[in-house]
Symmetry: D3
Subunit: 340 residues, 6 copies
């Protein structure tokens, strides 16, 4: 089975119970997650041979993160230990008109202080078919961005498919460089990108265009501009999200494979149990879809959208929907019947 | 006050907190319930003299189930002890597009290994007015089905009203007989049946007809066919359920008394706190309605539909809505105002 | 900064977890709140110098309430200790068609047995700009009503703005007097009143008129009648609430300043996490709005409506929405996006 | 089977989790108990036909208490509804050198406002063999003391054995009478008393003597003085407790039957999970012992001491140790082996 | 690194919170464990390459058990899926004089219905150095005993060290055979046995001798008798346990290697957080000790005793003490200082 | 009332429930504490006017810490906002032979990056009588040590009593300087020091002497050597702690006032609920004792020892024992009786 290697950060996530605000909490639910790890878990759940590569502190909290990987059947043998601390983020879960609230405490983490040369990428990737990374790793520090570039170059050399979730977060990118100074060099090796058009344009130094995702005429033009800049690009996908409220989202998706546009039917997602990680669930579903249905972009997209929707019903960072559940929903079943 | 005796299984129900998936749970909420027990609790809540008859293991877990009965004011004096274990079912509560998930672990339970002759039905039923059972008991084992038939015969002989919730579950019926080999003999004594038309047809060996419950012309014909097969039948009712999602149901009901069709107004039920046991809440409401409003089938049906709706807002297997709450909702009040 | 003094009761609130019914609870969430205290917390959250005056029992439970005040940055230095007990109320949180249920256990509380002369109002109010009280205090006992009247007289003499939330609760007013025998004398000193028209009419001994809050023509007439009776009145506001279900409310508001009618846009509030205290959140928002935007009644009203809506998403009695969150929503943002 | 009727108060007990202090709690564990109810539960657990008589408020909290009785198999058919509120007590559980802390909030309870004539004692006691009450009921109000006297007179007339746990609490007895003005009249009908000698002397108006419970010579004299004052007295027992710390108690007991002194072996009780109600467990064990071993005072005492010890290991007000567990410990087994 | 394969059952363990009794629990803590699995976890924690072989039901509860194995870094690749259910046991945790209480619900489990031929032992054991099993597997069913014998024969043929924890439980062995009819044939291949002398004698059909473990003269004779019966035997060890109470144990150990007797110093273990699995912790420590210190039986024994002691301080079935913690305690450090 | 100002760090403390290990936790109890803050809380509890000065991040987690200060009635008006993050420490609570385990994550905190000049000490200390700091602040960073020195100089100039808890932690002091390069300059202004003799010697660059605290002859000599080095010193105290196990400590104390040695009676502390912060409780008790009993060093010491002992029974970082509880224990009462 083809192995997918994901590279990035896993954090401790601390969250008040239910919809309590930070100031009301006397305990924080403790889970572990992070964009690229979440993708690996999704793939492992679908039966893919998934590996996660990161740098962990050599303390009890790092060990907790490691056990979470093992529990979820994600290969961890190439993880490197070092650095001071596991990154943390605090999450307050909103409801209705009150949005969720994230407080990052991930600076100085073991992953943020990783450096080029820490990972033996030739060895790690030698039996892999796919390499996944995200814009977050490039955003947390100069050295992490360099480690990313190093990995992508090896992956490209070894002929792996390379995917990237652009994942732009304005609160990150604090180390003195703009995305457009860093990302183009790494993105040029990528074959699959998840992100909306304006984020991609911004990261590549192009002016924003405020695209209309319903307009199937202009979309190919806008996406094609990315193909012109990134010569290895084969697929671009965008998650479409309309937020009625923190508890009610409408989710769709769009995919362009260089030739045609594919639309995923928009689904009502209500109530939202936990929307954090739903983009990662889309990414995980997209990788699975492209691997499993290489000649059926519509099906691959439908699978990604269904995975994204189901993630909203599941607490924690990563998607625990099973392959069968995602397939059923990709087939159109969203009635939520009791299985007994 | 007329006594209603319900016969069936009470199980330990184990459920992850909130909407957690099984694999996320470090504890399971522990409650006790089961179709026929849930009916008895509903009736006790409405002020009916309700008794539950079952077989429990003589261990601490069986004692927990017994205490639950006592707590809910359900008479337990004729319960028999024996057998190996209390049946268990695991329930993962869904949300939105993700349905709830039940894992049964009820084989080899004390109730599944009950045998004809275990209960002294003449004594148990001598001062009762109504006997209730369900298709589940007939489904779990040959000997339980035989115990059911034995009970029904005595109840019939003593002139009790006999009701049955057909409750077809394809995962049960594993002991080598089809429903149509077992159910007709027991159903022939029944006066009141809850179930949809095709389930009844299937259990009686008739071909399915995929009825249109909006078509009030064909419905009497379809229901009447049941009266032709079951000579003691006086009332058939059907719960109408449309599942928008696991968190949003539309609930109605229909009743045929041999002469006329009655429709209960369809209600929006959202959010769904716990839909397990909502059919039992309908059954409990129906028995109460038929006892309390013997000449007002519409009111009886409205009461049953209201009980069913309210159950969806209550955690656990059985309905804890009070008589007054059900009556208010049967009267049309569903605004959910604060009572203070 | 102008100080606002609020006078009333703080209670221990005991509530089953989630949507459990009272009989299912093995523990009660313990929080502290009460209409007038909730107003003080709202104001402190918005940066106002807020003080709460009450009477607490001199025991560990009273100390818990005191710590809650301190935690929320509400000045407590003029609180008086004495009496037997902290008032309690039990709250069962409804869902969907099942409404929330309050059981009061506040009789004989330290606040209910407060007497005229207990508080040195001249001293308490000497550096304050605003005094707030509510109809609940007048309702719990004769002596508490007298203490209220005493405070209002001093506040009026010292030139403070005086506001009252009418807060009629039929279960209170058990001490032998009708509201119209007690309220007019206290209300005559008030400058700002929150309440619906018929409640105000009832408390002032006028016949109810069942007003149509959409009819902007008749409304000025109906409100003006209050100005004719209460000579110090400057502003009357009403919370508009339509209850789709316990989990879904539609919230608007209306304000009359003696000259013009202002309408706040109606908002969908779903799901409802906790609607208790949402009226107090409106009141707190209204005081803040009138203080902060003295010449912009529309903005003051919008702020109050937004505060009320956001409170529904927050557990506990008082509103923990921040100034920025309320302002954003008053500006029209209700998409509930993740802040990260 | 002989029926034992216990008369007194059942309260809601609110307790922070584990060893948290009141001010640290965001929830209170909610259980139900009270001295005389606890005795009834003990007896029901041992297979005795036990009934509890009290007065409950007709609200949801009263219903919770009623369900607790039913759950524990205590007969509740003669309970009377009325009054304002269920009594409450707050319990902070100590550890080591920090003692537990009780805050009473039981004034104005439905039981405190019971009056003579409320219970039809002739009917309640007509088929009973034993009546139990305690000094707490006489302490909470004049009218409750009168109701007690009324009950005791009927019990005496009908020939029941009457037992009393003296249970002196200085914080109660607030209604203007001293124990020695009230208790002698009620105690004169009693056959069995549990209490230490000085408490009994105090309640009977005698000077305290500070007895030495190791001195088996003077003890008969001191106990006999009680028999001289209370002509119906047959048995006096005293719980011996030495408190090493809140977590470590040494428990013994002593019994005088008018002729001889019996000593129960002192047991080490550590850790203490919950010592509240351990005196009630002694009382329940004593009644059972005297009923079951009428000619073996030593065995009756051993049973009571064992019950008291085991209660310390069980959370909540009442003793959940089984008959077999108490008997094993009375037989000398205290190794706490795993049963598997 | 030499691989150790352990074969047996993993169960779902359901336990009331803290020291609650079964009847007080509204939820059960859910963990996974079982004697032979616990041994594998201990070894994995010490850095040994540990594999667990069992049979799991192919349902969500079986998946939970599988994830637990993965989380603890126990190899699970040879696990077989099939059968009806995961075995369950209920555990009520005692305190002081009240012992813990186990209710087994493990009949009909997937492991109990395993059969000879289900596992391809040649393949599983081909790269292993050690095989571990226990008397529990031989006790649960005839077919499981046969599977055990099959495994042991292959292990013997391949030259693995074979260890057995005798683990006699009288409640098991219900399938019609006595231990002495089954165990001798399997034990004859064993090299290492953990158990007390009389259990070994009983399982081998010898009369009990009630040995004095302090008497170092007679002990070699008694142990040697086992070597005479079991020709492959090299090491016998016994856990010494004196139960002061459920919360206070004294733990030692003894080891005989065919030549000399070794005694482990007795340790005070108080408080006991969870004593279930402490014997398995001893077994895991013993295997590690024998592997790591092949020429130092005293050290091996000390390690086993220390592991057993530390397990008592850890909740759940298996030992989470780290290698360093066990070594420190084996070195004599038991002061429990804070590490900071 | 004289004001005491304490300066240092407040951290978020994250702790698994009960005695769970880090890897077993799915949530962390969240409390706030830190050595110098804990001292301030103790003093506020005893009725002292206590202020805490620190630097907090301007985010929601910093606000939580601020609310904790307010709740505990500690003045916070001079707190400064800035920096990246609130320091965190993870605490795993041991039991018996397993010690508690702390994982620090406090590097880069807002307090660690405080600089000289951040606080306007002249203003903060102008109306204070006492200034308290600890060796931890000097240990976390060069700039924090400089801020400490700055504060101490101002305090000395203004004539405040200055106290220091030496609090040596080898894991800190990572910024390139040894304690003896930093501490002497700050300590020279101190009047009261808490610490053992060898820690003081080490921080002052003297060789360790391994003192015998039972030897009252040599002790004055050893303590006097400190007075020779620190010319402002008036009182040195040492907490004596003997760790039987993590759950059982023996606590005493010793005080030297330049003239005489005072010994506090050693107390048994078992069970230990939470020993973190018990040294701070001693420090808080010592300051209170020296303020309240300026001429009674024995009483001051007894108060400190009693406070330390009681802290062990209280969860969280700081001491919640009341003044009355500490005084009772200082008077010799440690029986842990129920207060009711």
């Amino acid at each position: 089975m083809s192995k997918v290697v994901s590279f990035g950060e896993i954090m401790l996530r601390l969250s008040p119970e239910g919809n309590l605000r930070f100031g009301q909490a006397t305990s924080f639910g403790a889970t572990y997650g992070g964009g690229e790890f979440n993708v690996a878990v999704s793939l492992a759940n679908y039966g893919i041979n998934a590996e996660f590569v990161t740098r962990l502190p050599d303390n009890d909290i790092g060990t907790c993160a490691l056990r979470e990987m093992r529990k979820m059947n994600v290969e961890s043998k190439n993880i490197v230990f070092g650095g001071e601390r596991l990154g943390i983020y605090f999450l307050e879960t909103g409801a209705g008109t009150r949005g969720s609230n994230v407080v990052y405490d991930r600076a100085h983490s073991s992953m943020a202080t990783i450096e080029k040369g820490t990972i033996d990428w030739e060895n790690v990737l030698k039996d892999a078919a796919w390499f996944h990374w995200s814009g977050i790793t490039a955003a947390i520090s100069q050295s992490a961005a360099e480690a990313c570039l190093e990995a992508v170059k090896v992956a490209h050399k070894l002929g792996l498919t390379i995917s990237c979730d652009l994942n732009y977060r304005s609160k990150l990118w604090q180390y003195g460089k703009a995305p457009c100074e860093v990302m183009p060099e790494i993105l040029q090796y990528c074959n699959v990108i998840l992100g909306d058009i304006d984020t991609a344009y911004f990261m590549l130094g192009k002016a924003k265009v405020n695209p209309n995702y319903q307009d199937e005429k202009t979309l190919p033009v806008l996406y094609t501009a990315l193909f012109d800049l990134l010569l290895n690009l084969k697929t671009v996908a965008t998650t479409l999200r309309y937020s009625v409220s923190a508890s009610h989202q409408r989710i769709g998706g769009i995919l362009f494979d260089g030739k045609a546009i594919y639309q995923g039917a928009v689904k009502e997602v209500t109530p939202v149990i936990d929307r954090v990680g739903s983009g990662d669930a889309f990414m995980g579903g997209l990788i699975y879809g492209l691997l499993e249905y290489p000649n059926n972009s519509q099906r691959a997209l439908n699978f990604a959208v269904a995975a994204c929707c189901l993630k909203h019903t599941i607490a924690g960072d990563y998607n625990l929907a099973t392959l069968k559940e995602v397939e059923n929903m990709a087939d159109g079943d969203s009635a939520g019947l009791v299985s007994r």
